[in-house]
């Protein structure tokens, strides 16, 4: 066996969460390596629409953490860390029919309760935006959210000095001893004082007992057109409901229309329980497009050039898993974001870096963060690395 290379911290997974953790640790002077089976932003981060959205988060701890992360993301952007990756833009949530209008009421109440960085600046008929069609009965305009494509954030974070990228390199396993952790790759072993696992759906390869499952969302990309027709993402209120309830109770499909800087639109998404990024179908495409065109009629002039399924990591209780492995201070988990990783990544990176250094979490969010600890899955402690 060749000599083992030593890093202060090894981060498994080069998605947006792993990249943020790596940046925060490197910024504090640690020597870190980021290992990925494929490469940067190769899974959910690269397939994301990039919405830094508080509105879509579950009320309670997640919405409050998202709110804090949005503020911190803006701070990182203004310091130049996320330059070119994050930009502020308005966002729009629309509804049609009783269930969705009720969901919009709940949204307004949720944002008022957080009293955070996202403000309702408009609430009324579709006329607030000239491009909207008859499928919009009520429109809420939000100010304060932003856009951060996952691959751009990953690239920005990983360009910092002190980070060694290692890919493509699947992790075959790891051992913990008194002095550190040994990470096994196909052709060599790496030593580290601390392992952070930010592996998304692949988490269960190293921690088979965690209740994480893949949840696919079909996404469709149009051709280019004049940019700026829609100033921010347009989300159906059904999407907010889909995140908290069973999707089959929804009368209308939960569509999100995201305008890209290229003048293209990214339209999603379904929620399906499988892990095949190539599994897309005409009936879903048509269902989403029917609703999208009623909301944004100019889409009828476009062509769909590409489709794929983004594979998110979902947890049985629909909350991310963030924190040290129970009883094991050398291994920290950050996974199960199910699409919320874009928004939460900045904050999670900062807090995981604190955990690695043995510091307590930031006061203002400590209680909310504690609810996401892997300790809530007691069985995971027993068999995690069996």
């Amino acid at each position: 066996m060749s000599a083992e290379t030593h890093y202060d911290v090894i981060i498994a997974g080069a998605g947006i969460v792993g990249a943020s953790v790596a940046w925060h640790l490197a910024a504090s002077g640690a020597r870190v390596a980021v290992i990925d089976a494929i490469g940067p932003a190769a899974a959910a981060s690269g397939a994301s629409d990039g919405a830094v959205s508080v509105a879509s988060k579950k009320p309670g701890p997640l919405a409050r953490l998202a709110s804090a992360s949005l503020l911190y993301t803006r701070e990182l952007a203004s310091q130049g860390v996320l330059a070119g990756a994050f930009h502020a833009r308005p966002s729009f949530v629309f509804g049609q029919g009783e269930a969705e209008l009720a969901a919009l009421d709940a949204l307004v109440a949720k944002l008022r309760a957080i009293s955070g960085p996202v403000h309702v600046t408009g609430d009324g008929p579709a006329a607030q935006l000239a491009c909207l069609g008859p499928g919009v009965e009520r429109l809420i305009t939000l100010n304060g959210e932003g856009h951060m494509p996952g691959h751009k954030a990953v690239r920005a974070y990983l360009s910092a000095p002190g980070i060694t990228p290692i890919w493509p390199a699947p992790i075959h396993g790891f051992d913990i001893d008194d002095r550190g952790v040994t990470v096994h790759l196909a052709d060599r072993r790496l030593r580290t004082g601390h392992l952070v696992s930010a592996l998304g759906t692949a988490t269960t390869e190293l921690f088979p007992t965690l209740p994480i499952m893949p949840r696919a969302g079909q996404l469709f990309v149009t051709d280019r057109g004049a940019p700026g027709l829609l100033p921010g993402s347009l989300t159906a209120a059904a999407y907010l409901v889909a995140k908290t309830e069973a999707p089959d109770v929804l009368p209308l499909p939960p569509v999100v229309i995201d305008p890209l800087t290229t003048g293209q639109f990214l339209i999603g998404s379904s929620r399906e329980n499988h892990a095949d990024p190539n599994r897309v179908d005409f009936s879903t495409l048509r269902r989403l497009m029917e609703r999208s065109v009623r909301a944004l009629p100019l889409l009828a002039e476009r062509r769909v050039i590409r489709a794929f399924a983004g594979i998110r990591a979902a947890v049985s209780d629909s909350l991310p898993i963030i924190g040290n492995l129970p009883g094991e201070t050398r291994v920290t988990l950050a996974t199960g974001f199910e699409g919320d990783g874009i928004c939460l990544s900045a904050l999670v990176g900062r807090e995981i870096a604190r955990m690695v250094h043995g510091l307590p979490p930031t006061d203002s969010i400590a209680a909310d963060l504690a609810t996401l600890s892997p300790a809530r899955f007691v069985d995971a402690r027993q068999e995690a690395w069996g």
Binding site: A41, N278, R279, D281, F282, S283, R303, V304, A307, F308
Partner: protein, 421 residues
Amino acid sequence: MSDPVLVVGAGLAGLSAAAELARAGLPVLVVDQAQAVGGAFHRQPLQGALSLATAAQDRRWSDLMAKVAAQGSRITLALATQFGGVDHKGTALLTGRMNRLFRPRAIVLALGARESVRPRPGWTLPGVETAGSLQIRLKTLGEAPQGRVLLAGSGPLLLAVGAQLTKLGSPPVAILEAGRPFARPLTPIGLPRDYWIEAAAYLSRLMLARVPILTNTRLTAIRAEGGTLVAEASSGRRFIVDHVALHDGIRPNDFGMPACDVLPVVRLGDCREALGARAAMVDGQMGGAALAARLLGRTAPSADPELARQTRAQARLARIYAHDVTAELNNLPEDTVICRCEARTLKDLRTLGPTPTARQLRLDGRFAMGACQGRFCGDWIARLTSAETSKPGIGAPRWPARPIAVADLLSATDETEGETQ
């Protein structure tokens, strides 16, 4: 009536397959994006236009059309109709004149070959096109474009298009052939007799019109200058022309082809392996009969030895035209456009480092992100980056199979509704 077998492409392979499938008793729906049948090789001229086909070609085509006609209503033909792809449930989308979502019993992809064009400075300028698309225009319209034409690249198609331009009274300024097809006089001896007859016909027409055929000569760059195109050859010669038609060989249509687990999807003809017109007809027949046998639970027919003969002939032809493409790629200037749809250059590619992942190529580099999804540039990107970059990641499977107008998707008749999934 049971679900039809969908045949995409009404050329030699597609119609040969359709005739065999129908002969076995299966209903067949043949669709083609063009307004007329014939595919690339037998593209039929518009009403009243001069036909470029030889007597032998006309005979072959009318024989095939008679076989198709003999099947009567078992074969339905839908022209000006595009195949949008098939999804994992087996639903296929057709757009255009026939606009429907339905579940065929099987799918035959007989889309013909992909024409390959090597990137070079100026290859995306207006006035520059592929020799294959120029040829389809010649066959359809029966007239040559206005102005001077230069043909460049490599392969026998350049001679065919040159001869056809000459026949239409507008011989090309020159043909630049990167290979040295006449330098090894013994190699062509093994070619079948009909290849010789065809080549002799093209060459004699070109020689009578004194068209220079410059072998071992590459077209290195094209510039737009004062309403004309200036083309620079590796020999140092410059040509001032109005049109440049490029061609660097043909490849099978293996890029991002749809795959589906719930029904048979087969590729036939040049779409499966680029072996030319003679082989396409045989492959269509054999493949059609084999698919019919598979669907009906019968014994598969034995292989036709003609296909092996054509495979050997094409391999020989490839040796005759062989030349070093790697050297040409290594000498490309940094600002050469590689991805036409998104206007990404060689420099943009180099910025991604020596071993970009497929995701980095797409998301960071924006390669293969446009309307063609890598169909034109995928091969070149794979060659220009490290071998570690997996080619399939660039664009396979491509879904939908082609850009789909949202309006067409919404107006399609949905024949799958109510069916169990």
